[in-house]
Subunit: 380 residues, 2 copies
């Protein structure tokens, strides 16, 4: 099974603080290079979706106008941290709907500011205004996972150690310093048990991919990568104040994606997973079916998520090391998988990777915001 | 020709200042009533697109969660003042792509604030920061139209008089006072020749429509309204500082929509037109082919845009009188046409209306922002 849509080009800027370049130029850089990598003339792009969360009106138009790509339908989409993945699905569906043969998915975000960047508090969310900001929410999830399953601080730290290690071989990453388990555990506490190195950094960046229907893809690209599944869901309402130790919407989106692609979790060779905090990666191993509920801590500790393990999880470095410029993240995941499945991932290459899964989550930790989860399955 | 997609339900809140209700409740009210009007159970909605420009992350999720509609794919879209129309197209394409049989397009915006609402200046736009805000931009367009074609202040005032007159019979409108040509011309100058009554008010509001594929639409709805065309384009780059007396992107979008629907301008019985300023409506008569370039002033003056004229333009009252809560506008236009084409438009009914056209423009008056234009053609 398949969507009938293929990735035929990809690019990503470096992630990290980029004080000297505006978000429209960052986005234009990624878009231009993605189109260039596809070998297509820019005016072959018939539709564009641009994902971002906090960059103001008409990001896509302003970015593409930088190099004269105008006139085409451009849709700006937002789904919190899943904005980029939502843009990717938008292009896939436009192609499936017959609206276009070739489209561009773009994602960009500039989060750093002079004096320090941060995510704005969502003022209409009671939980957020009462202090349940993202690190606090994930700290509670971690506490519950520790209590229920015996997950340890060492196991959580192993996630950061793994992803920082992978990032040493990916020049696009924000953070390039290796960490030890002790360093992660001994770094300043943000919200216990989440320490500074248990949290993703605040990054700027942009990424873009070019997608095409099968006929065009096979004609213009020597190695198109098939989108075997594209799933977007929102969360279910949970009673006020409940902290769960799983992500129901991730599990549901993954189940739909496996069915759409006709595969099972064990078929996934490489996964770009939404890991803004170490505990998120552990919970999501379980949601995505890579291990049973409660076994996520042991899964990472035993090396099964390493390059060379059962499934290489976030060989790019993930959000924890590559960085997390919100709108860019979901598009960059598709770009990283495109390179992996073409054998072009350089130092982070997963040997023999044939099936890749991208998992992106936006919002969804508060009872007031059901959020979004996107899962894409790509096939070499 | 047709998209194969039908409108089967619609609702709109009243437009105007709504100081006691938040945007998520406004949006939920419109969404709930649109679903109710379709006769479908809410859990038949398989996908939702929510359009807004300035309402923060995950508007769609927060609105639909108000009445427990969760789990489904929800995409938040932004295209400046065309955000709502972009949401409508998103649902149409999701249905065309086979992603859903039934979907909801929602648009909402709360612009009024204690002490007075206004649109934020786009700080990364050189023109805006130098003073070419919307009223100034349209004033320059008006000056050029007057210079080139002899369009008069009286003719421009006639647009406001017509739309205010239509609004007297639409209870959803923000402004319910009739105006004379002299009152429009003598109201305070905002940016010459645009006076206060030449400009749309600052409004709050929400609207929603339910869309379905043909099979479902014919089964559940006694009078579904066909979406004969759905077109979205962005603008072309124009040299810095050039003020044109037409909207190239409106003309292009309309041409594509006429071709998609297999109709010509003279076939349109009723048009909801994007009229944030009186001169915009005159320019867009010409862009949409209702009259020749330069003849827009005479067109309105001779009553050809009245209910009972060649084409009833904005019988709802339009942006000038109904109001312009950005994200809601494009969805409300579809809702108004749905009622017109079913003969349910009450006091604003256009007798015998069979073909309706909705025209929505976002951005696009600055050289830095190519903006968006959506044109939808509906058929009884």
């Amino acid at each position: 099974m398949s969507t009938g849509v293929y990735v035929i080009g990809a690019a990503s800027t470096d992630f990290g603080p980029q004080p000297d370049i505006g978000v429209h130029d960052l986005a234009a850089d990624a878009a231009w290079r993605a189109i260039e990598s596809s070998g297509l003339d820019p005016d072959r792009i018939e539709i564009a979706f641009a994902g971002h969360a906090y960059q103001g009106p008409c990001l896509g138009q302003k970015a593409l106008m930088k190099f004269g790509l105008t006139g085409l339908p451009i849709v700006n989409v937002e789904n919190a941290c899943a904005s980029g993945a939502t843009a990717v699905q938008g292009v896939i569906n436009a192609i499936r709907a017959g609206q276009a043969e070739v489209g561009l998915a773009l994602g960009a975000e500039k989060l750093t500011k002079p004096g320090g960047g941060f995510l704005p508090i969502v003022t209409d969310d009671l939980d957020s205004t009462m202090g349940r900001v993202m690190p606090a929410a994930f700290a509670m999830i971690a506490q519950r996972h520790m209590y229920r399953y015996g997950t340890t601080r060492e196991q959580m730290a192993r996630v950061a150690v793994k992803n920082r290690g992978n990032a040493l071989r990916n020049p696009r990453c924000h953070l390039h310093e290796a960490l030890t388990v002790a360093q992660v555990m001994d770094s300043p506490v943000i919200a216990d048990p989440m320490t500074r190195y248990s949290c993703c950094p605040v990054s700027d960046g942009a990424a873009a991919v070019v997608l095409a229907g099968e006929e065009v893809a096979r004609r213009v690209c020597d190695h198109p990568v098939e989108v075997a599944a594209s799933v977007l869901v929102s969360g279910l309402r949970t009673p006020h104040g409940i902290v769960d130790d799983r992500s129901e919407m991730s599990a549901r989106a993954a189940g739909l994606a496996y069915a759409q692609a006709g595969i099972k979790p064990a078929d996934v060779d490489v996964c770009e997973l939404h890991d803004p905090f170490t505990i998120a990666e552990i919970v999501h191993y379980e949601d995505l079916g890579f291990c049973a509920p409660g076994e996520g801590g042991a899964f990472v500790q035993s090396g099964r998520a390493d390059i060379g393990g059962d499934v290489a999880v976030s060989p790019s470095g993930g959000l924890l090391a590559k960085g997390h410029p919100l709108g860019a993240t979901g598009v960059a995941q598709i770009a990283e998988l495109f390179w992996q499945l073409r054998g072009e991932a350089g130092g982070t290459q997963v040997p023999g990777a044939r099936v890749g899964l991208a998992h992106t989550v936006g919002g969804g930790v508060s009872q007031l915001e059901s959020g979004a989860c996107a899962v894409h399955v790509l096939r070499a």
